[in-house]
Symmetry: C2
Subunit: 198 residues, 2 copies
Amino acid sequence: MSMTTEPQTIPGYTYASATLAPSPVGADDLRLLETTLLWTDDDERYLRMAGEVLADQVEAVLDLWYGYVGSHPHLVHYFTGPDGEPNADYLARVRARFGQWIRDLCARPRDATWLAYQEEIAQRHLDRKNETDGVDSVPMIPLRYMVAFIYPITATIRDFLAAKGHSDDDVEGMFQAWFKSVVLTVTLWSRPYAPDRW
Amino acid sequence: MSMTTEPQTIPGYTYASATLAPSPVGADDLRLLETTLLWTDDDERYLRMAGEVLADQVEAVLDLWYGYVGSHPHLVHYFTGPDGEPNADYLARVRARFGQWIRDLCARPRDATWLAYQEEIAQRHLDRKNETDGVDSVPMIPLRYMVAFIYPITATIRDFLAAKGHSDDDVEGMFQAWFKSVVLTVTLWSRPYAPDRW
């Protein structure tokens, strides 16, 4: 039995929605970033493999990541309301989309549709934080934590990638593809923080 | 025989100079970032170990990194002059400081002096690019490549960390400490790109 939520039932998940604006980041920009990340055809293959390996572990990954955020007051702060208390409904809604982000990162082609949704997510950390979930919370996630999250989101995935009996080479290949994908994602999510300097 | 340049002879290297402004990033901000990166006492120990392991490999690391930049026109672009050709003297001056950055990252205490120099380096990628070396080059490094560089600068270090016969556990420990340190550095270097949203 999978605990996976079907994408169409995830509140605020608007991947490929006709209402999404195109990303200001074009295909050429994306290809240069992939080149900078030393992207290879092997990474595509390993990313798909990672998606299969993580499929029935997404809730466990989220348990770990939410445990990490929840145990650090300076991070859970971004989910608090005017009373300073964490908003459980807000946390749950973001969690469902975070899980879908794991699946999408491993499985979706990185095309204009993918870029448009990365830009949507980027804005949901900044000027449009709280809007999707209709909550009254802290107005933005500072850039410092967007960049810093590259470490925990990357380092903690390795044990999950190794949990299905794959060879050391395959685990390493999946890990490198994941690492590159996380850095690529955060790079794209940093754009609206410095639109003229990005 | 070491090929190490003595810090005091590196052009433009102004670590701990009395003329440096204090960083707008305070010790409390830094501690919260370290916490976000899951920093532990082991990381301090492993970072010192990495410094010892890398000491006589710094030029080889720089050869690899400069080969990577030099083989990608969209990256070497940031070292070109008005004629579109790479400025060899500029590349050499930055290279010497890049090598010292490796040594400093592993060995220096992360105090107010360290923070002030990280801010100085940050500005040298942005509003004050070219000033230190008195060159006529591209005016800034875009944020996208600052963030994306986390991947190559982290992933390529592992073979160097493993080159001196340390145990797998020690290599892994050094790698994690290096990874955290690179993410921390890039986080701090991203500040002037979005000062009001950092």
